[in-house]
């Protein structure tokens, strides 16, 4: 550093040379273009920076644009600060020429270097002045012009003072000497073009040799300045490129960050007071992360340059210096109050800074127009990373709970009817609830929909089918059928929606629907009397069907007690239980009957009642003793099932109906068997059932017996159907309860985790 500083003077001269080079070039090629505004200032700044940062290539011109861009603040007027240094720049100026080549290497927005060749010391300055004035800010221009003029005058004086960039910059500040004043007026009055041509002849000579980099840089710069002159804080392309290059020296990765310590060292070279540097840091570190992104670095650098040039530091970060990354559209001087507001308002938190910068992201820095692409990417990555992330986070809202499937019971009711109804339910489980008045538990529908176990019921397709058919047939018992079908439908719908293959068959052996049991019960009851079949007939948990009477009675009781079985259901229950004992599997049958009865409008139940009145009596008799004993277990299930069936909750009904149906079927199937097995049936078998076995007994009576048995069977069928429906309803209810409990459990799970 020291050595470098020693050579600062040399660098200063180099910078000046650069200025001249650029200037000459500009003079030649851009006659009408105002000299890069920052020609003078930039040159100085760059000279200083070059010296500071050992960047020999920094074109002095660089400073000029900066100054030009930055409206010469009153500070400029204070020559005190920069008076002496300005003088130092003069000698450099003279030495510029030989240094031109080295200077040219720097692709910086070098304002046209004030060519020493131009005899009038003010000429180059005039160039710059022209530019500045041309671009805008007359007052500033004049100031600048005056400053430059003064600089030049000072330059004239061979001085070997400290070559710090200050010299260059300060050149602007010294009060314009009278000669320059005239010059100033000249330049001020006349458009640059007019003056430029005057310069041309003198500069032509050197412009030819100097054209290289400076030209390119200056062209852009000039254009830039002309275009975006209004914003004094704008960073020109050359400037930005210079900044970027400087950034690279510290951080090769343009998307990376410069740690605070490195930045501190870097900017300390600028010889600015720590306090000012601290303030610059506060302004430029937009996200307050203690590191500088490329954008932030450029802003800081730019502020340093401006400060070096005498510009006072703003209180807030200028819009053009905001780290607006991304979109460098041509929205040029789009004021970004949002960004500023964000900046000023959120000094503490990053996110607030980011948020306001987000909208600014799309805004373009005027200077970004040209070198935007490259820069945009940097800035985007560097500064907008967070904003982008925020953006992303904003943009990417949590997916709607698509997983939330319509609470359609995933019943797998095979029956078409059920399917339809399930769909109906699916479309509006809620609707279904109210629409199904018989559905004692409209909510059950939804619950049922959620019931995975309901899938099981779906399995009982056969049963369901048969049942559905029977249901459908029983138009009168629409409510019941609907319940069942609906319940079935809902589950079916669920099934359709999310077909968790319900183990249909398993249902057969499931506890509740003891349809299979009926077979067993039938088989069991074939020989033994009531007790035996009772044990086997009913679902495992339920004592054998043979105690249908028992169960039926308690069922009814339970039903009444347990759930608010609808009147029809109650009726059914009363009848079904009564019918139940009729057969070993009577439970099922009764269920079926009950269900069927429930399905069918009261007619069947009534009929069943009537027809089975005797049966009921018998059943009641037989079931009485048994009930007490076995009623409990089976009764409960029965009752529940019955209740379920009775209630005909859509969801549960479907599954229960199926098993029930199975039972029905099995029962139906068994019926003939029963009939055949007549004697097999438990004693509890109602008279009609008992009559069945009697049929084969007496051949002579066969016809009558058969007919009677047929009738009775039918009656029992209906009763059982009703019972079945009731049981199914009960099952539905239970299933719904289960679902609700499961849901609650799930809901509670996260809490448990917490």
């Amino acid at each position: 550093m020291q050595a470098y500083w020693n050579s600062s003077w040399l660098r200063h001269r180099l910078n000046l040379h650069q200025e001249r080079v650029v200037h000459l070039f500009l003079a030649e090629n851009f006659k009408d273009l105002p000299l890069p505004r920052f020609v003078v200032g930039k040159n100085e700044a760059e000279a200083r920076h070059a010296a500071l940062y050992q960047d020999s290539d920094s074109q002095s011109v660089y400073t000029a644009p900066g100054t030009a861009l930055i409206p010469r603040p009153p500070g400029r007027g204070h020559p005190n600060k920069k008076g002496p240094p300005s003088s130092s720049s003069l000698p450099v100026h003279e030495v510029i020429q030989p240094l031109a080549p080295s200077i040219e290497t720097q692709p910086e927005p070098t304002s046209p270097v004030i060519s020493p060749h131009q005899s009038p010391p003010t000429s180059p300055h005039s160039w710059r002045k022209h530019k500045r004035q041309h671009s805008g800010g007359n007052a500033d221009r004049q100031q600048v012009v005056a400053a430059t003029g003064s600089v030049w005058t000072q330059f004239r004086e061979p001085q070997t003072g400290p070559v710090t960039g200050d010299g260059m910059w300060s050149s602007h500040s010294p009060p314009p000497p009278p000669s320059q004043e005239s010059w100033v007026s000249f330049t001020a009055d006349t458009p640059p073009s007019s003056t430029l041509p005057a310069m041309h002849p003198s500069s032509v000579q050197e412009s030819t040799t100097i054209r290289t980099v400076a030209s390119a840089a200056t062209t852009n710069e000039i254009q830039r300045q002309s275009s975006g002159y209004d914003d004094p804080w704008k960073i020109t392309d050359e400037q930005r490129q210079y900044y970027i290059n400087q950034f690279k020296t510290i951080q090769p990765d343009l998307t990376g960050l410069i740690p605070g310590s490195a930045a501190k060292e870097f900017f300390t070279k600028s010889k600015l007071p720590i306090l000012e540097l601290s303030h610059i840091w506060e302004l430029s570190d937009f996200d307050k992360d203690g590191a500088l992104t490329l954008d932030e670095f450029c802003a800081a650098f730019h502020l340093v340059v401006a400060r070096k040039n005498g510009y006072d530091l703003p209180e807030k970060l200028p819009e053009s210096l905001m780290p607006k990354l991304i979109d460098l559209d041509d929205s040029a001087e789009v004021p970004e109050p949002v960004a500023e507001v964000g900046y000023s308002a959120s000094p503490v938190e990053v996110t607030p800074n980011k948020s306001p910068s987000m909208p600014s992201l799309n805004q373009v820095w005027p200077e970004m127009n040209q070198s935007s692409e490259q820069w945009e990417t940097f800035s985007e990555r560097s500064s907008s990373s967070q904003t982008l992330t925020q953006f992303d986070s904003n943009i990417a809202p949590a997916d709607p709970d698509t997983a939330i499937v319509h609470p359609v019971p995933i019943r797998m009711t095979p029956s078409k009817i059920h399917m339809q109804e399930m769909e109906l339910k699916r479309t509006g489980s809620d609707h279904n609830h109210p629409t199904s008045p018989l559905l004692a538990k409209p909510p059950e529908m939804s619950e049922e929909t959620k019931l995975p176990p309901s899938m099981k019921f779906v399995a009982a397709n056969t049963v369901g089918d048969g049942y559905s058919s029977s249901d459908s047939s029983t138009s009168d018992q629409e409510p019941i059928t609907r319940q069942r079908s609906q319940s079935g439908a809902s589950p079916e719908a669920l099934k359709v929606v999310a077909p968790p293959p319900p183990p249909p068959r398993p249902q057969q052996s499931h506890s509740r629907s003891s349809s299979l049991d009926m077979n067993r019960t039938f088989a069991a009851t074939s020989a033994p009397g009531q007790p035996q079949p009772s044990t086997t007939a009913f679902p495992p948990a339920v004592p054998p069907r043979p105690l249908p009477t028992q169960t039926s009675v308690p069922l009814t009781g339970h039903r009444v007690d347990s759930e608010g079985v609808p009147a029809g259901g109650a009726v059914l229950t009363t009848t079904s239980p009564q019918q139940i004992p009729q057969q070993p599997n009577f439970a099922d049958f009764s269920q079926f009957q009950a269900f069927a009865a429930s399905e069918q409008p009261s007619s069947l139940p009534e009929i069943d009642k009537h027809s089975e009145a005797g049966q009921v009596e018998k059943m009641s008799e037989g079931a009485g003793p048994l009930r007490t004993v076995k009623s409990d277990g089976p009764a409960d299930e029965r009752t529940s099932a019955i209740v379920n069936s009775a209630k005909g909750s859509s969801g549960p009904l479907a599954p229960p109906p199926k098993p029930v149906r199975r039972r029905l079927k099995s029962e139906d199937e068994l019926r003939p068997e029963d009939e055949q097995l007549g004697p097999q049936k438990a004693s509890a078998i109602p008279a009609p059932l008992t009559a069945q076995p009697s049929i084969p007994r007496s051949v002579g009576k066969d016809k009558k017996a058969i007919q009677a048995s047929i009738r009775r069977n039918k009656e029992t069928n209906t009763v059982l159907a009703r019972l079945n429906s009731e049981l199914q309803q009960q099952l539905k209810d239970l299933l719904e309860e289960r679902i609700s409990l499961e849901v609650q459990l799930e809901q509670l799970r996260p809490f448990s985790h917490l």
Binding site: G260, W281, D285, K288, P347, V348, E349
Partner: protein, 139 residues
């Protein structure tokens, strides 16, 4: 609104003191100085929890007839002291907490500035702005 805001370094020397009534600042300086004892007392009392669980906000350090003093300690033992006018009874605890939070954030920003040497007086304009916003608006 605070009447005086002070930032005390770990070594119990002031990093930043600002009072609204530009005059009679000495009184506030003295108050802040004496409040440090209370802060230490509170900090040591909670020290059993190794400070990790220590509440940063110390609350009302002690009230006087004219004003109330609130304290806040950071994990780096930097103390913030806010003196509010007793007549300003409308100030709730939450407001004081928010003020401290803002102070802490601003202080953090100052610390993040590489050009700031810890231990130097805080000369950040941003910090000044924040403090000004919190000071009594009596001008």
């Amino acid at each position: 609104m605070a009447v005086c805001i002070a930032v005390i370094a770990k070594e119990n020397y002031p990093l930043y003191i600002r009072s609204v009534p530009s005059q009679n600042e000495l009184k506030f300086h003295y108050t802040v100085h004496t409040s440090l004892d209370v802060v230490e007392e509170k900090v040591s009392a909670v020290g059993k929890s190794l400070g990790d669980q220590r509440e940063l906000y110390l609350g009302l350090l002690y009230p006087t007839e004219d004003y109330k003093v609130y304290g806040y300690v950071t994990n780096s033992k930097v103390k913030f002291v806010i003196v509010v006018d007793s007549s300003n009874t409308s100030l709730r605890d939450n407001e004081i907490r928010s003020m401290f939070r803002k102070l802490h954030n601003s202080f953090t920003d100052v610390m993040c500035n590489p050009f700031y040497n810890p231990g130097d007086p805080i000369q950040s304009k941003a910090f000044n702005g924040i403090v000004s916003g919190m000071m009594v608006q009596t001008g």
